[in-house]
Symmetry: C2
């Protein structure tokens, strides 16, 4: 576990229990992330029951049919009734309404977390709307797929994943402990703890910028007059460089709407980096090889730092 945030006093001593067992977990939103979490909780017996809600009743029914949840409920308030842990797994822009809906149906001891790709906005909504803001722990599991929806869910999605938790000075250590136990002991996760703003700036660079880069590449290539032939020649390089452009457009939109400033900074650095390559191409400068060599070294160093793969 790597930590980049001051952990609350006495927090570590509480991590004695290695077998988290939650009585009832409510998952609100049953797309790829929520349904996969339900599958993992049930497969690993980390909760006595998993209750699921989705704004589309058919999705909740399919989640149940796929074994992601034990029971379907039809309202957010019904979902959180009696739950010890509430997981918001809806699109980011839907979370404010969900928080408002459940806020006054949560006992003080209930822990609320989320799986959203941006954290500052979600944490700020939670601390504004929940009567007990100390019960909220922002979370972002760094896993995913370009596939989306309950049909793409799998129990293994979270295996070996890194989770980013973004507690604030208002977060109660006991709330953090519940999410810590679940992710570290329950799901075998590695944790990175950072403040919400720092999380957002970091993922703007390594997650949201790649999404925009892949999207722009897909659009530019498919608009090209040569696309008719080019699409037949496109191979593994094109496939991988554009992979994340096949992801859920709504998630991408919500990321842009809730992380615009860090994303603009990342985009501008990217545009400058592209411009530098463009200048070298235009000048037919053989030293462009240095830029490629530097990128190769840095990417390989990054791969090595995470043990290959």
């Amino acid at each position: 576990m790597s930590s980049f945030h001051p952990i609350p006093e006495g927090f570590g001593e509480q991590f004695m229990e290695k077998t988290p067992s939650l009585d009832r977990v409510a998952i609100l939103g049953l797309g790829l992330m929520g349904a996969s979490l339900g599958m993992a909780l049930r497969a690993k017996k980390l909760a006595r029951s998993v209750v699921g809600y989705d704004v589309m009743p058919g999705v909740a029914r399919r989640a149940r049919a796929r074994g992601a949840i034990d029971a379907v409920v039809t309202t957010p308030t019904e979902a959180v009734e009696g739950a010890l842990l509430v997981v918001l797994a809806a699109p980011i822009m839907a979370m404010r309404d969900l928080l408002a809906a459940i806020a006054h149906h949560l006992d003080a001891h209930v822990v609320v977390t989320d799986l959203g790709s941006t954290k500052a906005q979600v944490v700020s909504w939670a601390e504004e709307l929940l009567p007990h803001p100390d019960q909220f722990v922002g979370a972002h599991p760094m896993v995913g797929s370009e596939r989306s929806g309950v049909e793409a869910a799998e129990a293994s999605l979270y295996d070996g994943g890194v989770w980013c938790l973004t507690p604030t000075p208002r977060t109660r250590p006991e709330s953090l402990k519940v999410v810590y136990d679940l992710t570290v002991y329950g799901l075998g996760a590695s944790l990175v703890l950072v403040p919400p703003d720092q999380h957002d700036a970091a993922v703007a660079v390594v997650s949201h910028l790649p999404l925009l880069a892949a999207t722009a590449l897909t659009l530019a290539a498919s608009n090209d007059p040569q696309w008719g032939i080019a699409q037949m020649l496109a191979a593994g390089g094109f496939r991988d460089t554009t992979r994340v452009a096949s992801g859920d457009p709504r998630m991408a939109r919500d990321i842009c709407l809730t992380n615009s400033q860090p994303l603009l900074e990342a985009l501008d650095a990217y545009l400058a980096s592209l411009q530098r390559l463009r200048d070298a191409v235009a000048a037919r400068d053989p030293d462009i090889g240095e830029q490629f060599a530097e990128a190769q070294r840095r990417r390989d160093a990054w791969l090595a730092s995470r043990g290959g793969a």
Copy 2:
């Protein structure tokens, strides 16, 4: 097989022989592409002997130790002696010298091809330097890996791959037939036949642009002040979007030097596409979702057109 180039008169009727068997093949350049081709030729018994040359003698010895070639020779002229087919598998910028070195050691019936990522420059060198320009067939197998060098070679690299062949009006049908038989019947390839310029414009979009996009992304991300934390949060999206930035820097350099005009046009379209996304992010425009949805549709249509994967 898809063809986008007028095939020489009477060309089709010649394709009767389904078991190509070449007496002696010379491979000049034993990196990933050349050594993998040697392995495939030997594994599939497509040649009676494969002779290999590399400017670095140690590389040629390792290629032989890995089973990529039957015999090592130490000069290009020695390699082509008695060969029916000569394959130039060196970096693009080294090909001119190779062509000059072998030009006057080739009988008229010998067929010369190459595996370079750009075609107009290589074809023009071949037609300038070879005493029998009709013996040259430009080729670009659309396969590869971000790994490079003889150690990364594998016999399966070409399995199921698309090959782009770029004959010109000067290419002798008999020369094309040798390469056709080898790739289609021997390696099970799908072929796309296009003129060299059109090849270069197409791969600028779907191969060279992704390379620059991935390189700039790697450099921008790793230069970011947040990189310390960001690199721990970077996951599958970053890994795949940047994968090709781990490729051979010399190959990337040579691509830029020999395909600069099409690459500049592709880059400019990409920059415009990014700028359009940037404008929407800056305006916090919810309609940005349309751009993501459009990219998703187009990429998924591309995937579907090639039968998934």
